[in-house]
Subunit: 217 residues, 2 copies
DNA sequence: TGCAGCTCGGGCAAATTTCCCAAGCCGGAT
DNA sequence: ATCCGGCTTGGGAAATTTGCCCGAGCTGCA
């Protein structure tokens, strides 16, 4: 592994937009102590690049959600528990942030942050510290004060899975077949999810799922 | 106005993410002939910055959709018909592209394009040419061949309005009350819209509406 | 004039949603 | 060990909605 103090901080950049990667690369390299040693344009390639270059920090954008971003984090951490991963995305849902940290991320910075915030966060993460941008901290703080946590916290695993598929456009039959359940059970879940979340309409459910990063539109 | 050949191309950068702007700025300036003379972080400020700096090209990102991006384009073009605007976004829906050109954009490049594509597009647009990235051209070409144009083209005004409200989360009753229609009529529209668009599920309908910019999530 | 398409709504069988209920399971608290 | 609570799975029955067919009034256009 690299000696941070001696050689600076090596960074693996994961983002699905080439131009965005190039931009970040320039911003980071202009700092002097940050070196982008590799790039990947999708979650699947991220681990290969990580193994090949053993960077001090992985800066992972990925338009998220879906789960591919989270999977990439888990993927890397599962095999290299030492890995430092900084999530850098335009999304700012509390659920997403929690999920990212839960999956093993060391930091979470939104794109609305000052450019310097990313750089600072990378250095913090490289030192083994946790890091997040101010807006994320506020959102998390706000959320921890409100009695009602994230909407998804009220839902069980099965419910979340069914909500995801439903919001993705699947019919009740398709979901039932997919999960090996009776149509009736899926219908009941559908109803249960609506009551739990307070959604009165399927459309509201879809919007909810989307705003929680459960599905991308 | 500036002499392109003599002074290079001046660019106004509009993007809501500061770090992204900084990245683009570096990428563009490294080209030698491109100079970022101003930045704006929202559609509303874009025109002010345009008037103040009279750039050769406006590179406009804006997370879109909504309409704020389109409004910014119309806004600028309405008062400065000479303005060259290059839309640069991660969205690639045909409807959005058409809307952008319809609003007066000169070019449309997606973020999935090669970095060089943006630079090339900026130069083309500065010369007064139309420009678009390969993927956009393919999507438009594909669409022009399919008998079904944009999904929204098949829908009447009333249908679109009902679809918008429905996708926004309104119940059938609310829509009926809002538009002074019988619930039955709204139900019939709901059904009609589904058959016309081929959506089999309410969720699919919402996604469709969102992808057409009919509703923001 | 006549056709075509949008808007509006009735009707009715079939499907779905809405609730209520029960049972098995599992983990944590007593 | 036992009980409680929550998740998961489904049945049942009434209430609604959907899927499709229909007719009527209106407008624009050939």
């Amino acid at each position: 592994m690299s000696e941070v103090a001696a050689t600076g901080i090596s960074v693996l950049l994961v983002d699905d937009h080439p131009i965005v990667r190039q931009g970040y690369r320039r911003v980071l390299e202009s700092q002097g102590d940050l070196h982008v040693v590799a790039e990947a344009d999708n979650a699947a390639d991220a681990y290969g690049a990580f193994k090949a270059h053993d960077p001090d920090v992985v800066v992972l954008d990925i338009s998220m959600p879906g789960a591919s971003g989270l999977e990439a984090i888990r993927n890397i951490r599962a095999r290299s528990p030492r890995a430092r991963i900084l999530v850098f995305t335009m999304h700012n849902e509390a659920v997403l942030v929690k999920a990212a940290f839960g999956a093993g991320a060391s930091g979470f910075v939104t794109k609305s942050s000052e450019p310097s915030a990313v750089v600072t966060a990378i250095r913090s993460v490289a030192r083994g510290e946790r890091a997040m941008s101010d807006d994320i901290a506020h959102i998390l703080a706000e959320e921890s004060l409100s009695p009602t946590g994230s909407v998804l916290d009220q839902l069980g695993e099965r419910e979340i899975e069914i909500l995801r598929q439903f919001a993705g456009g699947a019919t009740t039959e398709q979901i039932a077949a997919h999960l090996n359940l009776s149509v009736k059970t899926v219908q009941n879940y559908h109803y249960l999810i609506k009551s739990k979340t307070g959604a009165r309409t399927d459309a509201q459910l879809v919007r909810l799922a989307a705003s929680c990063g459960l599905t991308r539109i």
